[in-house]
């Protein structure tokens, strides 16, 4: 049991980060804090992908002269990391759009508190 818990510590940490992010999105009233929660949520997923690419005693996946396919075990898996480069870009764009929307909301209602906004809609 302890082995199971400790052996998967990277995943437990990922779940924790995802939970924190989701908490921010769902519970926080301030829209900026919601956006931060969203960012944390995405970071959790990036962590997960980095975790699955990691191996003990392996080096960064840079091909050096004379290395051979049979030595692949000595390198980390580069693919999830490259995927995450793209995902980070997507995440940045998302946050950018979110902040733009928040500016638009603030200009119209002069508040970013969800409850107050809903009241003003009535």
């Amino acid at each position: 049991m302890t082995d199971f818990l400790l052996g998967h510590y990277a995943y437990w940490f990922t779940i924790l980060v995802l939970a924190v992010g989701l908490y921010g999105i769902l519970v926080k009233r301030n829209l900026v804090k919601k956006t931060i929660g969203l960012s944390i949520f995405q970071a959790g997923i990036i962590l997960f992908f980095v975790a699955i690419s990691t191996k003990w005693n392996a080096s960064v996946p840079i091909k050096v002269k004379g290395s051979h396919v049979s030595e692949a075990a000595n390198f980390m898996n580069p693919l999830p990391q490259t995927l995450m480069l793209t995902a980070i870009v997507v995440g940045v764009a998302t946050i950018g759009v979110a902040l733009t929307l928040l500016i638009a909301i603030y200009k119209r209602y002069e508040t970013l508190d969800e409850e107050e906004l809903l009241e003003k809609f009535q």
């Binding site: 989701l22 969203l38 995405q42 997923i45 999830p80 998302t94 979110a98 929307l101 638009a104 809609f121």
Partner: protein, 493 residues
């Protein structure tokens, strides 16, 4: 050679248009519209040409950058993706042509940006449909989602807030899908759909595969507005500008439903999808609940656009239900309904746009007989689409329901059959409620200005009527469409 490059050319057309529109649109705002229409027209021509290349059931595989799959990204242009691409691009063309006047009145000064984002949206959708790589699909999904947040934010005063909510829910959905890919990648070591589907039978017992499937369906389910993940949809469609909702509503959720179809029936296949959990039954039940919930909520709305939005929740349920039946009839019904509903919802939102442009509102309670006199063609288009939504033959809507009904009968699933029939009645209730007002309620004011024809400008009128006429044509000649759809049915179904 151009034919083999088609899979990549179609999305690329939109990407190039987006750049061109950005360049010229910011320089001279009025150039945005013609350039966007031109780009879409080009894409429609390409997809029409491509459709005829692969309509016999053949398939084109394009290796992006010359990297062979499964290492490189691959675009798969088969009959199904060619069909969906043709449908969404044609509907987008109609919506974009229609947007000329609405753009001038609803967001003056922002048209350059608007059309650039619209092109990006279509780039995302086309990419989602054509790509054969799961991660690449995520990227296209986010491109289209980010564009749709921006498009929805261009609307009335509440629009940015609706868009922000959609952004929160949508990004969580996209992230869950990404997490699901991660699970599958850990087990199979590939991201290519065809490659992965060949490997899945050996690893299907692994709980990570089942977890991955659930996460992916959940994530895409949010984008498809599958009940109960539909919360973002009604507000977004209601508060967005008429032209944004006419562009996004008919195709946005459909593309997501198409991804669900790819995952459930192509990637996993009907044999494997149910091994860990009865996924098809659960999804089917949710779809059925969504059909009823959407219809009932639609009845309670007094705002036309909101009614149409809830109706979308209900209609996407038909598509998902057809997929979940996992038999040939259900498949035909689902794919046919993607086409039919795109046309129907397109027509209805165009009508809403016409009314907003002329009357400044779309409050059903204010509708009366003068609308029919003022806008005879617009109202005729509305009537056609409404009859089609109810499922009156020979309108298109009848036939998708007919195949879905056959699918439920083939599975002996009488509950779902009852849901299809009852929801048709509910559709009738909320559409005839509007029609009754338009055709029967005598207008409050007796002034002559209320009885003279004040139909919208030709660019809006023609697009609306063409979309409506297409409903009848598709209905009457759907046998040839179904014949093509039969080529798409995945092996073993």
């Amino acid at each position: 050679m151009i034919v083999s490059d088609l899979p990549v050319l179609i999305p690329l057309t939109f990407l190039v248009s987006a750049l061109v529109v950005t360049l010229f649109g910011f320089w001279k705002e009025r150039w945005g519209y013609p350039l966007a229409v031109l780009g879409t027209l080009l894409a429609v021509c390409l997809s029409l040409y491509g459709f005829f290349q692969v309509m016999d059931g053949s398939m084109m595989r394009y290796e992006v950058g010359g990297w062979a799959p499964p290492v490189g990204i691959e675009f798969v242009y088969d009959t199904l993706s060619a069909f969906i691409v043709l449908v969404i691009n044609s509907v987008a063309l109609i919506a974009l042509i229609h947007s000329r006047v609405v753009g001038k009145t609803e967001f003056p000064g922002k048209r350059g940006g608007y059309y650039a984002v619209a092109m990006l949206l279509m780039f995302g959708f086309n990419g989602m449909v054509i790509t054969g790589d799961l991660f690449n699909l995520y990227v296209f999904l986010e491109i289209s989602s980010l564009s749709s947040y921006a498009l929805i934010a261009i609307g009335d005063k509440k629009a940015p807030f609706a868009a922000f909510r959609y952004l929160l829910i949508g990004t969580v959905g996209g992230s869950l899908y990404l997490l699901g890919i991660g699970f599958l990648y850990v087990v199979t070591g590939t991201l290519n759909i065809i490659d992965m589907s060949a490997m899945l039978p050996q690893v299907i017992d692994n709980s990570a595969v089942i977890g991955g499937l659930i996460l992916m369906v959940l994530g895409i389910g949010i984008k498809a507005a599958l009940f109960p993940l539909h919360g973002w949809l009604p507000d977004s469609y209601t508060h967005a500008s008429s032209t944004s909702s006419a562009l996004i509503a008919p195709i946005g959720t459909k593309v997501a439903a198409y991804v669900v179809l790819r995952i459930m029936l192509y990637l996993f296949g009907d044999q494997l999808v149910d091994i860990g959990l009865p996924v098809t039954s659960i999804v089917g039940a949710l779809a059925a609940l969504g059909i009823l919930y959407g219809s009932i909520m639609a009845m309670a709305q007094s705002e036309l656009k909101k009614m149409l939005a809830y109706s979308s929740v209900s209609q996407i349920g038909y598509v998902i239900m057809g997929i979940s039946l996992s038999n040939p009839f259900g498949f035909i019904g689902a794919v046919l309904h993607i086409l039919n509903h795109a046309l129907m919802k397109g027509t209805l939102f165009l009508v809403a746009g016409n009314l907003r442009e002329r009357e400044g509102h779309t409050n059903i309670l204010k509708f009366d007989e003068s609308y029919r006199k003022k806008y005879p063609w617009t109202m005729a288009a509305f009537t056609t689409a409404a009859l089609s939504m109810v499922g009156i033959p020979p309108m298109a809507g009848f036939f998708s329901k007919w195949y879905l009904a056959l699918g439920t009968i083939q599975n002996s699933n009488w509950l779902l059959l009852a849901v299809i029939l009852i929801s048709s009645l509910l559709n009738a209730v909320y559409f005839f409620r509007v029609l009754e007002k338009v055709y029967m309620r005598s207008s409050a004011s007796e002034s002559t200005s209320d009885t003279e024809r004040q139909e919208v400008v030709p660019s809006m009128l023609w697009t609306t009527t063409i979309a409506a006429a297409a409903l009848i044509i598709v209905g009457l000649f759907n046998a040839s469409i179904v014949a093509v759809i039969q080529h798409m049915i995945p092996a073993g179904l």
